[in-house]
Symmetry: D2
Subunit: 344 residues, 4 copies
């Protein structure tokens, strides 16, 4: 049994951590912080947690109390983990950051996309990008994890087999992504109102989205060189889920794409390559830490289409964070993550 803390627990990734950890046999939540809601019990804010955390209340962030935890999750806006991570690491606490603070290796690129200087560049060297399907061994030894973003998870898992095998033109990859509205967080913004966002579909950020450099970095690692990516995210009228539709141009006859994908993920507990011809639905992963993939080659042509679905709050955030924790602490990788998706 280890003790964990959660910094910034009032948002959707915070409450999702609580939901998952309530079922985790090896973890006790010692502290959850929120400046705005300090003193409120978690069950009063999130009634689904009534009966699960009856004494746990939001508290002011206290580095000493957090430092007494074995691990601390950051479920905060960008910039917050920069300030606190070093202090916690110094106390021997491992840090699992769900924000974007440590995802980009290059502090300059980070500063450019986030509009402020990077607050902890000295930590970048040891931060490990927490995509277990690429970096499981490094995660095992890590003290500081940057949990991948939701779009980056769906896109990278769908493209890894093709890029690692060198099958597609790396200059012109397209990721057309559709996300449920929890991807925009719990902030009270007019465009996120049910009256505005339901019964509608729209693209956003077509000119450039903050997940773009993160995805490019990851795809570049897989490809062994720069990848030219066009990434268009869309807002979809549903609560959870990302559907990434990925297009690549084959450079030559690729062989058996289905087998390539199945072999690449054969040992992965949370990647499910569906049978040939499948079209995964986002609801098939609702609440579950799973990425389901299908690979198509329409009319046998030179375009390959990969369909990749995740729950943005689970495999795209809190579930992947718990998966990283499990790897770091030697727990069963599916501890707390074993429940099937909620369907229908």
């Amino acid at each position: 049994m280890i003790k964990v803390g959660i910094v910034g627990g009032t948002g959707y990734t915070g409450v999702e951590l609580l939901r998952l950890l309530a079922q985790h046999p090896e973890v006790e939540v010692e502290a959850i912080t929120s400046r705005s809601e300090a003193g409120m019990r978690v069950g009063d804010m999130y009634p689904n947690l009534r009966g699960h955390y009856d004494t746990l209340a939001f508290s002011e962030p206290d580095p000493r109390r957090l430092g007494a935890c074995d691990a601390v999750f950051f479920a905060t806006p960008h910039g917050v983990a920069h300030a606190l991570a070093g202090e916690l690491l110094a106390q021997g606490t491992r840090v699992i950051d769900l924000s974007a603070d440590f995802r980009l290796r290059d502090a300059e690129v980070w500063a450019e996309w986030y509009g402020q200087p990077h607050g902890a560049p000295a930590l970048l060297d040891e931060a490990v990008y927490g995509l277990p399907e690429m970096h499981r061994e490094r995660i095992r030894r890590a003290r500081l994890i940057a949990v991948p973003g939701c779009y980056p998870t769906a896109v990278q898992l769908g493209l890894l087999p093709l890029l690692e095998a060198g099958l597609i033109d790396t200059e012109h990859v397209i990721a057309d992504c559709k996300s449920g509205v929890t991807g925009a967080g719990r902030g009270a913004k007019v465009p996120s109102l049910l009256a505005e966002a339901s019964e509608s579909m729209k693209a956003y950020g077509a000119g450039g989205h903050r997940h773009l450099p993160e995805i490019r970095q990851g795809l570049g690692d897989a490809a062994g060189g720069a990848v030219g990516l066009t990434f268009v995210p869309h807002l979809t009228p549903m609560i959870r889920g990302i559907h990434a539709t990925l297009y690549g141009r084959l450079k030559s006859e690729p062989g058996d794409l289905q087998a390539l994908f199945e072999q690449r993920f054969a040992d992965e507990p949370f990647v499910d390559v569906m049978p040939a011809g499948s079209h995964p639905e986002t609801r098939s992963v609702k609440g579950a830490n799973v990425c389901r993939l299908a690979v198509h080659r329409p009319a046998g042509g030179d375009t390959v289409v990969v369909l990749s679905v995740i729950d943005n709050l689970v495999k795209g955030a809190s579930g992947q964070a718990v998966q990283n924790l499990n790897i770091m602490f030697g727990f069963a990788e599916n501890a707390g993550l074993a429940a099937p998706a909620l369907m229908p």
Copy 2:
């Protein structure tokens, strides 16, 4: 570890049983039957179950194979359990019927509402109405359980404290109920299409709904006499959830209604009386075997309003069925039912 069978597993209550039992530490699903889908693996029909039941496939109903199970769930249309239950009981298998087949004690009333003769009147005497909050001790010893309907569960739990205490006029009770569309089952009917049922609200069955005699029977048991109930169900554009709004007229000063409710359900693991002034949301029980209640007395007048929410597929069907199983077999009552609701 016990072995269970599921008859009629392709509908929503069937797949929900599989979802819940996947997390049950004491249960193995030995067989799941479907005439129409025999041979298909459950993960091919319900991809959320991929990785959880990889060898389980739908099979033709085989009384011998089912009779070798410790318990069998019926997740079937009405009439099916009538035919099979006796044969299974004779083999020593306990039967938990999620359909309406054994809910009404009076075979004549059943025949009137369901438009066909009752197929197993001899079993009615020993069938136990599986609402643990009323009949836990009888459930413990039962061989045959009639799992309550979804509306009946929400309505009865909300009215029990008032009726048992004799506080309200039993001649004029009103239950205005709102249900998500899974309450209508998985049949392909035009009114259940997304294009028809979303962005709309409507009542149905205002002249009389099959759950009416069941609710009246249960309320009558609690009140110790006949209860005059007006029950109007409504279709709500959501997948899961029932919200029952219950109106009763107080016969005299009722004392502390909040305390009455809290005391009535103090020992109930799956009934949550919320703080005074609360308005429970159906999403706070999505996927969870919980009924959340709040009691109001507007402007201190003589009308009491109870708000009662459940997930129609869990506490209103499959979760309650598992709860009954747990009680019958002496398992922890929350085995397989411990996960918090999925929120948001």
Copy 3:
């Protein structure tokens, strides 16, 4: 052709006025005000209006410019019309107020429910409650209209026939109402987010809602005496629509209720009494200025159930405002209001 102004045009009732008036053959929108969005063209805020009002932009409220209009609509939070209405009336401009400012005849009651003193009590005497089905003749001659609220419209139209005929017990009337989320306005509030409000149902204001005194006042007028009403509104996961389910207790044999309703509304262009046994759907009035009603008497008992549906933004707000305008200015009552509902 008359000229109209709209004060406070950025909310949902404002844009809905623009949508309806775009089709009105006798009306030109001269000015639309918004302090926060002054200078922005309406089509930039509401792209559905692109091509319909290409030169119209939001402007600072200017009493002189508004006073040059034949009529001015207020689509503002409460309190705003109090301050401006008198000034406009003095200039000969007629005022149609969609807010609550002039709905209650008693300034004290208003002050109690809205938490501030009434700002224009001297105008209350001449304000006419703009429910054409009750006050058409007075509307014709009115200078100042208080457009009824959304819930009050649905509830009053459903109960008028029963109360006017003296058929039901006036002490115990119940209105269980379900509203789409636009009823909560366009404010950026967390509970109105798609991620919070969809896939869920909840009551709110069970202890008392601001529409309660307005409904009671109107029902009292119809009944010729005080009416005891329990009113519980619910939030429903849809954009538009109100479904009011109304329960009354019959005092004696009521005769033919269907005929009573049909006769009461025989000459009403915007009230549709559906055939006996019907269950009106809110989507059947989406975008249309119609109230559809059905009356039921379950099992021939002493409880009468009326189902009443409107679009909260049309017959419950902006459409009804235009209907009032049409009556006041002698236009065809359905001018600008002739389009069928959008279904599906």
Copy 4:
């Protein structure tokens, strides 16, 4: 005033024709046919039409009665118009077919994709593809119109400027399309249930969809040669709307793309090129006969992204059919099509 008939009026495109024609000043609906619902009044099937077509009822298809109309719309499954169109044309009735029967010029290709021989190849020569933005002059003189499909309309309008100007590589065009569920029609199919299709997103037909040859034919006309298109449609949890996200690779510096689009559609009443940087929402065209477009060139690279939205039932079907009628009969092109979209 002309008389029109509608064959196959019970589906979504049929009811949408009735909704639009109710507002058309020059058209009277003389007959609407349905074998399955003959005798039922349209208002009984579609209550939104109550009060608009009170005497109109579905009737058995009667070629003589239809032949007495000035124009007949087919809102039927494929194959039906093949059989009847010739007979109506021979009587001097013009035919506007919303089905796929006359969209492909090559009867062989049609037979391949629709799995049956083409039933009226002799009519293909005179059939005009009813996309006014390409073929307005031919439509004016046409007797037989093939109304474009929903996806083809959104995709072609978005790509026409680029292809006509020869700016993009025609071998590798990608159309990632998202559609609301009415695109699948009103058939009672399990995947279209609210319980199945809401809160989820999925691709379908990635291996080949019937709209593919139609789109290729139209793009080829614009490009003056074959176009290699990858087309992946997706099902989105909303009632109406198509969002097409279109990707092309620029062959050279394209000049001012925004100006190109604005000029191409400057005289088009139903194509709205939004300001640079815009992201059109499908809800901005809900119920309206409009296509809104935006063109992006992310990071100034060689990929151009066009965002194109329509209402699949209006500009993607029934509205476009009425627009064709208006052109054929010399009515104002926006007759019956003038109302703004319903937003929110």
